[in-house]
């Protein structure tokens, strides 16, 4: 047997040295398998052992819907103006409300679930080498699974309410895509920040609450429009959530409802919320990517 010494190792032949832990990977198949299976496991755990699991999961948006519907239609008299303005039937309001609640639930689940995700998976982060981005992405994916189930109910509900299939339903994937990209950006940002600042969690809860009321979930945009000045109106609609919800009403539930672009002053106006989504995603990605190598040490 011949012998080499550490000095005689042909270092130049070794290629590239390994890098430390990273957010992403070269092995995208493994990345996807991991993300998918972690999300799937969580999802399974939620429903496991209870036949009613699915219904429990539906119960939250449905209860919220019932409370809000009763309160705002019977007490607050919202939802009538929209219909009145365009002369359509009032009864699409419930379907719109439920749809928006379900979309917002997705957004809230994905982001607030991601906040603690890196810390909750501490054991994995410290002991297994894998692309760190898997963790926030799997929480978003988990929320997607729930969204898919909830949307089924929304469609049944809408159908019962008199909504009929239309070509603009094809816009739905784009809308969900936009919402998902926005949520993913925030998920990356929040989960990275939470490692360093533990009060991100309560702060984000408050912000989620604000976003709920600051988006056209309960009150359709055309009713808000009557009460806000042009500047406030613009701020209100420039939020990607508002854009998605408003366009959802128009494209999926009730074609007579105004388009999101109408509220933003034309199709070019759509660029603003889209830019917000992309910037959020980019910032989230950069922050997460920067912190990923040190997460295992800073937990």
């Amino acid at each position: 047997m011949s012998a080499t010494t550490v000095e005689t190792i042909p270092y130049e032949k070794l290629g590239r040295p390994i890098r430390g832990p990273e957010a992403l990977t070269d092995d995208w198949r493994r990345f996807w398998h991991l993300t998918f299976n972690i999300a799937r496991t969580e999802w399974k755990l939620k429903f496991y052992g209870s036949v009613l699991g699915y219904f429990w999961q539906l119960l939250r948006p449905l209860l919220m819907f019932t409370v809000l519907y009763v309160f705002f239609t019977k007490v607050g008299h919202f939802g009538t103006g929209a219909a009145a303005a365009v002369g359509g039937p009032e009864h699409f309001y419930p379907a719109m409300l439920l749809g928006s609640i379900v979309l917002f639930t997705f957004f809230a689940e994905a982001t607030s679930g991601a906040v603690r995700s890196v810390i909750d998976n501490e054991a994995l982060v410290r002991k297994i080498q894998f692309p760190r981005m898997v963790i926030p992405l799997s929480t978003v994916l988990l929320a997607m699974f729930n969204l898919a189930l909830n949307l089924i109910v929304v469609f049944i509900f809408a159908f019962a309410d008199g909504v009929r299939p239309m070509l603009s339903w094809l816009e739905l994937p784009v809308l969900i895509g936009m919402l998902a990209v926005f949520a993913t950006g925030l998920a990356m940002l929040l989960s990275a920040l939470y490692v360093y600042f533990r009060d991100v969690s309560p702060i984000w809860e408050v912000i989620t609450q604000i976003l709920f009321y600051a988006s056209p979930v309960i009150i359709p945009f055309d009713e808000v429009q009557q009460k806000l000045g042009p500047t406030l109106q613009h701020i209100y609609m420039v939020s990607p959530l508002a854009t998605v919800f408003e366009q959802f009403r128009h494209a999926v539930i009730y074609h007579a409802a105004p388009r999101a672009s109408a509220a933003l002053g034309g199709n070019l106006g759509l660029l603003e919320p889209i830019a917000i989504v992309l910037v959020t995603f980019a910032v989230g990605f950069v922050v997460f990517n920067r912190t990923a190598p040190y997460v295992a040490e800073n937990l």
Binding site: M1, T4, R19, T41, K127, I128, Q129
Partner: protein, 427 residues
């Protein structure tokens, strides 16, 4: 004993074939942790004291480590707690980023801890598949291997059980079985053998032998010196982040014991910390199987011998040795003394060596045993020369345990008796 200079870059021979590059090369790797003395965990604190800088304490856990592991080599890393061995493993695994360069060739599987990512609310199958994926298998591969995993873990009958209802032993068995089912060219193993009962440990040993035969490259972190010596082709010793020694596992083990117990095999006479008058020293204690081979794990039923090597510092007349073999509960299960059979052992001169052997039929119950050897002058037995303990332990394995302290050969017969005879017996 020749001792190469404890510098990481010395001309240390690494067995290699001229063709292959090393499987792992670590060059000038250092790792420092900056631990803030007062940690700010919230944005509020940051906002309230925007100017105050957090003072950091810097720990250098690894300092300029350079070594290479050849393909197919079984490489041991020894060191005390906090010496940096786990950190080194995590750096090689890519869990920590470090200064310096690390190259790896081939697929790596890391087991820092068994059962990471197991979910207690899921049954074995889901956990095995998920864990397999985490360790780098594709879902299809992971599902395909499930049967062999569960079989190896001997948990077929418990596969429907949720993991939270598993005993800790079952849990570990399952985790280990998953870990070894993962194909990898390089395995990084951190003290996973410290778990499981003796029978399962034996099984793990067999697996390691297999892996060795398959030509896998293995880096093995341990502080069990018998295991280190038994498996590793080469080893290194870390102490406070520095590489103190690299080379033959036996040398590493000696250096380790020296660091750990302040015991220097070369200068034992000067060691005052040990009991006894120091006229002689017990250098080594070991167990041999019936073929006369040194073992750390021995199946029940063989005739085995416990031996102690003694080095005399001064002339000693009729020295006597006694041995107590303690089980895991620190109860002596076997006590034997040389003076029962050899009242006069003879005269030994300064510088001479002697080997004391205690041979017995191994009826010990499966488990871990640690022998304590006392060397004394002839007489009351209180005149102790040296005592050897904590240095060595061995494992007895058996296919099934009867439950007693020892499993004495027992002949069982059953016969029918008449009522009359029965009455006679009870009367």
């Amino acid at each position: 004993m020749p001792r190469p200079a404890p510098d990481g870059t010395g001309s240390l021979a690494i067995p290699a074939d001229t063709e292959g590059l090393p499987a792992i090369v670590v060059r000038g790797v250092s790792k420092t942790f900056r631990v803030p003395q007062e940690r700010k965990h919230t944005l509020k604190e940051r906002a309230l004291h925007p100017r105050s800088r957090t003072r950091h304490q810097v720990f250098e856990t690894l300092s300029d480590i350079t070594f290479a592991v050849q393909e197919g080599e079984f490489f041991g890393v020894a060191g005390r707690n906090g010496s940096g061995k786990s950190t080194l493993l995590k750096c090689i695994a890519g869990i920590y980023g470090a200064d310096g360069e690390i190259w790896r060739r081939g697929r790596v599987s890391t087991f820092i801890e068994l059962g990471v990512g197991f979910n207690p609310d899921l049954a074995a199958r889901d956990n095995v598949v998920l864990n397999g994926i985490m360790l780098g298998l594709s879902p299809r591969e992971a599902r395909k291997r499930y049967e062999s995993v569960i079989e190896f873990a001997e948990l077929k009958e418990f596969e429907e059980l949720k993991l939270k209802n598993y005993s800790s032993g079952m849990y570990v068995r399952l985790a280990f079985s998953v870990a070894i089912q993962v194909d990898a060219d390089i395995l990084l193993i951190d003290e996973v053998l410290a778990v499981g009962d003796a029978a399962f440990q034996q099984k793990c040993f067999d697996v390691f032998r297999d892996l060795q035969d398959q030509g896998k490259t293995i880096v093995f972190v341990t502080h069990q010196m018998p295991e280190l010596q038994r498996f590793c082709h080469r080893a290194m010793l870390l102490e406070r982040g520095h590489m103190v020694h690299i080379g033959d596992p036996k040398e590493v083990a000696d250096r380790y014991l020296e660091l750990n117990f302040g015991r220097d095999p070369e200068a034992l006479g000067a060691d005052g910390a040990r009991g006894g008058d120091g006229d002689a020293r017990v250098l080594d204690v070991w167990v041999e199987d019936e073929k006369g081979e040194r073992q750390v794990a021995i199946p029940q039923g063989q005739r085995i011998a416990l031996r102690a090597l003694v080095h005399f510092m001064v002339d000693v007349e009729d020295p006597q040795a006694s041995v107590q073999v303690h089980n895991a509960e620190h109860k002596p299960v076997l006590v034997a003394a040389s003076w029962r059979q050899h009242d006069h052992s003879g005269r030994f001169r300064a510088g001479e060596h002697a080997k004391f052997s205690f041979a017995f039929d191994n009826v010990l119950a499966p488990g871990r045993y640690s022998p304590v050897v006392d060397l004394a002058h002839r007489g009351a037995g209180l005149d102790v020369i040296d005592r050897y303990e904590h240095g060595f332990s061995f494992v007895v394995t058996a296919t099934d345990a009867q439950g007693g302290l020892v499993d004495l050969p027992t002949e069982v017969t059953i016969e029918r008796v008449d009522a009359g005879v029965a009455a006679e017996i009870t009367a």
